[in-house]
């Protein structure tokens, strides 16, 4: 008697080999999609959204590309997820992690076809990953001791990261920018404190890092455009009509004159509030919320610069740079900490007016103004810079550094190969496969640069047979070069995260022997 179906309609089930095939195909498709963006000569992708306006994004950033894809294959979703986590956690290496996971699965597919059980492959991969990590740990350089060397390490890392992005033309300039910005954070990883303002116009080279702080706001009418030695009160308070907050209160009057009286009282209240604020002895007032015309006028009369609608992040950053506290009540002027800066002035970037705070006390936040030919360029520049900033801020915390240009992969591959030779049993096939997957990354970098990858990787492998070699692929000259001389470095933390996440993801997908897909939820089509 036929087995009745046990699932709901439209639900599907794939078993054993077919399930594995489906995951491999999905994962490898994703890998092939992003792998051309890898390396300094990697290409960009254009993404067009299906939403209104068909917005276009041009990018080289793996996480951004994958985030925008609509994928139905569950294995591919795992890869997208690791790329996203990589982005959140270390900020860079989002493409590498997907490519490595994909290559691991591609190798696994061959092993499965050769009748090796997935569990054996997994245990081999695990051993290999552990061994690769140890190999990296042994070769890692740490210049925590000397500030100067560390700074040059940071420069190198920033340049390496930026070289694969749109900013590669001006990478020295931007690397300098990013390193300066991160050094100002003094070890904090809170990148919110670095504000990036994008203004179309000019060229990328016109971008600059501002020591102070730039607020994308206009100065109220009739108020001073330039304040020296400013005392700033940063506030979050209602400056429209101060509502009565007691629940259920309402105004009930019986004559017109009463209305006028109450209106007068309201005005009086606002005037008092403004007086209190001014009594702090300030000459600049920045509020998160709206400031109505009436109080604004009062401020103008008192010669106080009032800035309204500074967004929440802006307020927080401003509080950080100027060292003031964010105030909401104004009854104790003596104990409120005010912010200070030497100069507030209105500046022009392109054709927009911005408010510039310079000579700030704390200097934990700063602003990077990006200029560029178009929105797309600016967006991509922001993403690239964000990657660089993330990597740098992580490196400040974990100062270990590796060489780049395929050097870490070759080092790992060599050690893993060594391990494969020593390991008895079927696992050694898997370990060998792991090393092949690692070598695939320099191969792809070389391929993307239009070089003879087979030849280059063979040379590289030979070079790495010597102890303590620093050889990697020099994409610019198309040959094997010394990474120490070329100054190509990468952060250890990023490489480690790539290695571990990719192995974890590959393992996860390999363990699956059945895919059950539920029927898609019926949605009302609003289109």
């Amino acid at each position: 008697m036929a087995i009745e179906k046990i699932f709901k309609d439209d639900a599907s089930e794939e078993k054993g080999e077919r399930a594995r095939m489906a995951s491999f195909v999905g994962a490898i498709a994703i890998t092939d999609l992003v792998k051309t963006t890898l390396g300094p000569k990697g290409m960009d992708k254009i993404l067009q959204s299906t939403g209104r306006g068909h917005g276009v994004t041009v990018t080289n950033d793996g996480a951004t590309i994958l985030k925008s894809l609509h994928i139905d294959n569950p294995a591919a979703k795992v890869l997208i997820d690791i790329s996203k986590v990589q982005d959140d956690e270390v900020g860079d290496g989002t493409t590498s992690v997907v490519v490595l996971a994909g290559e691991l699965l591609r190798e696994a597919e061959k092993l499965v076809a050769a009748k090796i059980h997935p569990m054996t492959i997994i245990s081999g991969y695990r051993m290999a990953a552990e061994c690769a990590r140890n190999a990296l740990l042994q070769r890692v350089a740490d210049n925590k001791g000397s500030a100067e060397k560390f700074r040059s390490d940071l420069m190198k890392i920033a340049m390496t990261t930026l070289s694969s992005k749109i900013l590669s033309q001006d990478k020295v300039y931007f690397a300098q920018l990013a390193v300066d910005a991160v050094m100002r954070l003094k070890g904090s990883t809170n990148l919110e404190a670095i504000q990036i303002i994008k203004k179309p116009g000019g060229s990328l080279r016109d971008s600059f890092l501002d020591e102070g702080f730039i607020l994308d706001k206009k100065i109220g009418l009739g108020q001073p455009k330039r304040i020296e030695n400013a005392k700033i009160l940063v506030a979050n308070t209602a400056m429209d009509t101060d509502k009565v907050k007691i629940y259920g209160a309402r105004v009930r009057v019986d004559s017109m004159s009463k209305v006028a009286e109450i209106e007068g009282a309201e005005k009086e209240k606002m005037r008092e509030k403004v007086q209190k604020i001014i009594a702090h002895g300030i000459n600049c007032f920045v509020n998160r919320q709206l400031i109505y015309n009436f109080p604004e006028e009062l401020f103008a009369d008192a010669g106080v610069l009032a800035i309204e609608h500074a967004d929440f992040d802006g307020i927080e950053r401003l509080a950080l740079v100027t060292g003031g506290e964010i105030a909401s009540t104004f009854d104790n002027p003596e104990s409120v900490k005010l912010g200070h800066c030497d100069l507030i002035e209105e500046i022009m970037i392109g054709e927009d007016k911005l408010i510039h705070f310079s000579g700030v006390e704390m200097g934990q936040a700063c602003t990077i103004v990006l200029r560029g030919a178009s929105h797309h360029v600016l967006d991509e520049a922001e993403r690239s810079l964000h990657d660089a900033l993330c990597v740098l801020s992580q490196t400040v915390n974990d100062t270990r550094v590796l060489f780049g240009g395929g050097w870490p992969e070759m080092v790992m591959a060599k050690e893993v190969d060594e391990l494969a030779r020593k390991t008895p049993g079927k696992k050694s096939h898997a370990i060998e496969a792991f090393s092949r997957a690692l070598v695939a990354i320099p191969t792809i970098i070389a391929d993307n640069a239009g070089l003879d990858s087979a030849d280059l990787v063979a040379q590289l492998r030979a070079a790495h047979h010597k102890e303590g070699c620093n050889a990697g692929i020099d994409v610019i000259s198309g040959s094997v070069g010394d990474m120490a001389d070329l100054g190509i470095s990468e952060s250890f933390k990023v490489k480690q995260a790539v290695l571990l996440s990719a192995t974890e993801a590959a393992e996860m997908i390999l363990r699956v022997d059945e895919i059950i897909t539920c029927a898609p939820r019926q949605r009302e089509d609003r289109m």
Partner: protein, 536 residues
């Protein structure tokens, strides 16, 4: 179909709208049910054991879950068949009762159904089969008790507990670092356990996960983590020896439940009202300050003004903390949850040695750690991992390990794993079968065969020859009269003694598996008529 006629030959309608219903009866119905049950069991069979595979499940919204946990697989599977739903229930009840062995119970039920099918074909009445199964399950459970061993552990000797948790974890994806995770689970359970009463309240263990980092970074925090940050960005990020006021009232003007209106009709009233409002905020903050609190944790939000006042008076505060977390904080810090400002007293404050805010990764993710609490009975297991699915699966695995540790504290009897208990039971049931006169004898023997199916699946998943391995182990058990031989899934060596390989399972878990599986199978066998509405 169900038609009856009265004396004039007119039909009575017994089943409403019977044309629109499909109906299966008798042996047909039983066979259909059995085959559905078997189909579900077959899906889970490959997940059994340390070399079992995972399943990837895609939910209706496209979210992906990768898991090895039987209960989770079945729950997300979106089954439609009634019998399949029964199997789902079965696995769920094992999950609720024991927490572990959710896959095994379904495989066991599937095997029992398969054996029943054969007996049905030979013409044995389903009820007799059910009764035979019942008897057999009693024998098996008794036998389990017989072969079970007590082992002693105390707060100092936790090794046995760790070993048992490791057995549970070894079948999951986290087996890469099963040792540290098992230790974490055991420590967590022991710190909340009430060893006198032999009870563990698992609600006191919070399992939190955050993507990023690696699995090895998973840690046990003797305290609580809250996924919130300080209400004002400039409040101190670290507080030593915190005295915590736990509030369930908002820092906002009161909202009486009865409907009311405050009418403002004169300027004086307007002004007094305003002053009152300001005083109100002031009072609230002052009250917290007066009792000596150094940290305020509130279930509700704060008004901007109150927020600033708090910050101004140097009183850090956390807002929008969920009810469950609030309760945990109260337990951990020994504080009382205070519903009104008027009721705040110094005794009601909770105490914690250290409260700190910690940020993660490159995004602005912050979490609040409340550690070194006065009463360290509430703990948090904080999981890190490479991706979302990994964290979810780790959570489930940790849950299983926690349940196992709890069961051991409740009842410290264990049986040996690796299928050895099942094989031993199978031998015992087989031997007992001959003593029963009547048809039940066949059913009891069938039960013994079904018991063999679990070790068989284990062997198969581990890439061994199932029948060969099973018969070898079985003969070894009988020969040496030692119930500890099992399937060597981990390829350790030729010695299959599970005692030496440290593969333990809890006695109650095993007993419950057999009892629950038997019950469900009995229920399925008793069905002889399935009436279901046709699709269209």
């Amino acid at each position: 179909m169900a038609l009856a006629f009265d004396e004039y030959g007119r039909p009575f309608i017994i089943l409403k709208e019977q044309e629109q219903k499909t109906r299966l009866r008798g042996i047909e119905a039983q066979k259909a049910n059995i085959s559905a049950g078997k189909a579900v069991a077959r899906i889970l069979q490959t997940s059994l054991g340390p070399k079992g595979m995972d399943k990837m499940l895609q939910s209706p919204d496209g979210d992906v879950t990768i898991t090895n946990d039987g209960a989770t697989i079945l729950e997300q599977m979106d089954v439609d068949n009634q019998i399949a739903k029964l199997m789902v229930e079965l696995s769920r009840s094992q999950d609720y009762e024991i927490g572990d062995g959710t896959t095994g119970v379904v495989v066991m039920a599937g095997a029992l159904l398969e054996q029943a099918e054969r007996l049905l074909e030979r013409g044995i009445h389903p009820i007799r089969i059910a009764e035979g199964y019942e008897m057999a399950s009693r024998i098996a459970v008794e036998h389990l008790e017989h072969i079970a061993q007590k082992f002693d552990f105390g707060p100092t000797n936790v090794e046995p507990l760790v070993q048992t948790c490791m057995t549970t974890l070894s079948s999951k994806i986290v087996n890469r670092c099963k040792r540290p995770l098992a230790e974490i689970s055991v420590k967590a359970v022991l710190s909340v356990a009430d060893l006198e009463r032999k009870d563990v309240n698992l609600d006191l263990i919070k399992v939190e996960g955050k993507v990023g980092g690696k699995l090895e970074d998973t840690e046990l925090i003797y305290g609580i983590t809250v996924d919130k940050d300080m209400s004002h960005p400039q409040m101190p990020k670290q507080i030593q020896d915190a005295k915590i006021a736990i509030l369930t009232c908002p820092f906002e003007p009161p909202k009486p439940k009865t409907k009311h209106k405050v009418d403002i009709d004169t300027v004086e009233k307007f002004q007094t009202l305003r002053q009152q409002e300001q005083k109100y905020f002031d009072d609230m903050v002052q009250k917290c300050k007066d009792v000596g609190a150094t940290l305020v944790i509130c279930q509700w939000g704060f008004d901007d003004e109150a927020n600033h006042l708090l910050m101004h008076r140097n009183l850090p505060a956390v807002r929008w903390v969920g009810g469950v977390e609030l309760e945990l904080i109260a337990i951990a810090t020994g504080g009382r949850i205070v519903p009104r400002f008027q009721e705040l007293t110094p005794e009601k404050l909770g105490r914690a040695g250290l409260v700190r805010e910690k940020s993660f990764g490159t995004t602005k993710d912050k979490m609040l750690y409340i550690e070194h609490c006065a009463n360290s009975r509430a703990v948090t297991i904080f999981i890190r991992g490479g991706n979302k699915m990994m964290i979810e699966e780790t959570k489930r695995s940790i849950h299983d390990a926690l349940c196992v540790a709890r069961n051991l504290i409740r009842n410290n009897s264990i049986v040996y794993g690796g299928g050895s208990a099942e094989i031993s039971c199978s031998i015992a049931v087989e031997a007992a079968a001959d003593k029963y006169p009547g048809v039940e004898q066949y059913a009891i023997r069938a039960f013994a065969d079904a018991l063999d199916s679990v070790p068989m699946a284990l062997a198969e998943n581990s890439g061994l020859q199932p029948i060969e391995t099973l018969s070898a182990v079985k003969s070894q058990q009988i020969e040496e009269n030692n119930p500890h031989f099992g399937i060597d899934c981990n390829d350790v060596g030729t010695n299959d003694d599970m005692r030496e390989q440290n593969v333990f399972e809890t006695l109650i878990g095993k007993q419950q598996q057999i009892l629950l599986a038997t019950q469900v199978v009995k229920m399925i066998l008793k069905i002889d008529d399935v009436i279901s509405p046709s699709d269209y």
